[in-house]
Symmetry: C2
Subunit: 202 residues, 2 copies
Amino acid sequence: MARNPERRALLADAGLRVLADAGARGLTHRAVDAEAGVPTGTSSNYFPSRAALLAGLAERIFDRIAPDPAVLADLGGREPSVALMTDYLRDIVARTTREPGLTRALFELRLEAARRPELRSALGGVLRRGYADDVAHHAAAGLPGGAYEVALLHYAVDGLLLDLLTTSIDAGFDPDQVVSTLVARLVGGATDRAPLGAPGAR
Amino acid sequence: MARNPERRALLADAGLRVLADAGARGLTHRAVDAEAGVPTGTSSNYFPSRAALLAGLAERIFDRIAPDPAVLADLGGREPSVALMTDYLRDIVARTTREPGLTRALFELRLEAARRPELRSALGGVLRRGYADDVAHHAAAGLPGGAYEVALLHYAVDGLLLDLLTTSIDAGFDPDQVVSTLVARLVGGATDRAPLGAPGAR
C-alpha cells in the first residue's frame, strides 16, 4: 500500500496545498490526511517522519517541474556550446516560474529544515541528488565548464528565482538577458581556473 | 510616541523573534505586543498595517546587518578594483552569515509578501531602496561595472546565502572562493555589453 506511487503523489500534492495555505508550521501528517481526504495515519505510512514528509514534498516538486521530454530531446540533439547551455538555463527558468507556488514551496521547505536540524538531512539528500544529477548531465552532454560552473549557475539562478518569485529588488533588467549574461560570464567568460580538489569538482 | 526610534527598534526585534518562533503566519501585531511585553495596540502605533510591520522588520534587519564603520572606512580608503569589490562582497557575506536568523527572516518576509499582494509594495520599497543604495555606493566608490553588475552580484550572492543559511546542495566548494569567482567573472570578466536603456542601467 505504502508503495503505490499514485497515492504517494496524491498525498504529496495535498502536502503542497497545506504548505501554501498554512505555512511550514502547519505542515503536519494530520493536516495532510485531512487535505487529501484520507483516513488519519495514511500519510504516515508513506512518509514515516516529518523529515520524510518534507523530503517527499521536495521530490514531488522536482517531479512536477521536470523538463518536457520533447524540449529535452530537442536540446539533447544540438552541439554543446555556451548558447546551448543558455537554452538549458532558459528552460529551467521557464519551468520554475510557470508554477511559481512550487518553487516558493521549495524555498519554504529549505527554510523550515534550516530551523530544525532533524529535518535537514532528508531534504538535503534530495537537493544533493538534484545537484549531482545536474553535474552528471552537464558532463554527459559535453557542455562547457564542470561541477564548479554548475554550482555557480545554481546559486545565481536560485537568487534570480528568489527575486522573480518572491519580493523583487526591481532592478529593471530583462530576466532572459540576465540568464544569458550569467551563462556567458560564469561559464563562457571563465578565464580563471576553477578550484581543484573540491568534492565533485572537475 | 510613535516616533521613538528605540521603541520602534525594540518592537521590530520582538517581531523578528515572533517570526523565528511562529513563522510568518504567526506574525501579528498582537503577538508582537505580547512578545515585547507592551500594551496591546502599541505595535500598531508604530506599524499601522501588516504591510508596514513587514517593511519595518526588513528595515530593522538591514540596520542590524549594516556594515561596521571601521570596516567601511578601511575599504573606502583603497583604490577601486575587482579585488576591492571582492572584499566588499566578502564583508556582505560575513555580515549576513554571522547572524543567520536575520537573513533567513528576510527570506521569510519576501516569501510571505509574495503570497499576499497587499504586502508586496511596502516590503518591495525597502528592497528597492537597498538596491538603489548599493548602486549609488558602487558608482560613488568608482568600482568596476555598473547597476547591471550590482544586480547580477545581488542575485548570485542571494542564491549563495540561501545555500549557506538554509538547506544546502552541498557542492563542496569554499564559499570564499565562490565569492571571488563571482566577482572576477561577473564584473572583472565582463567582455559582453551590459544592456542599455534598462531603468537604473549604467
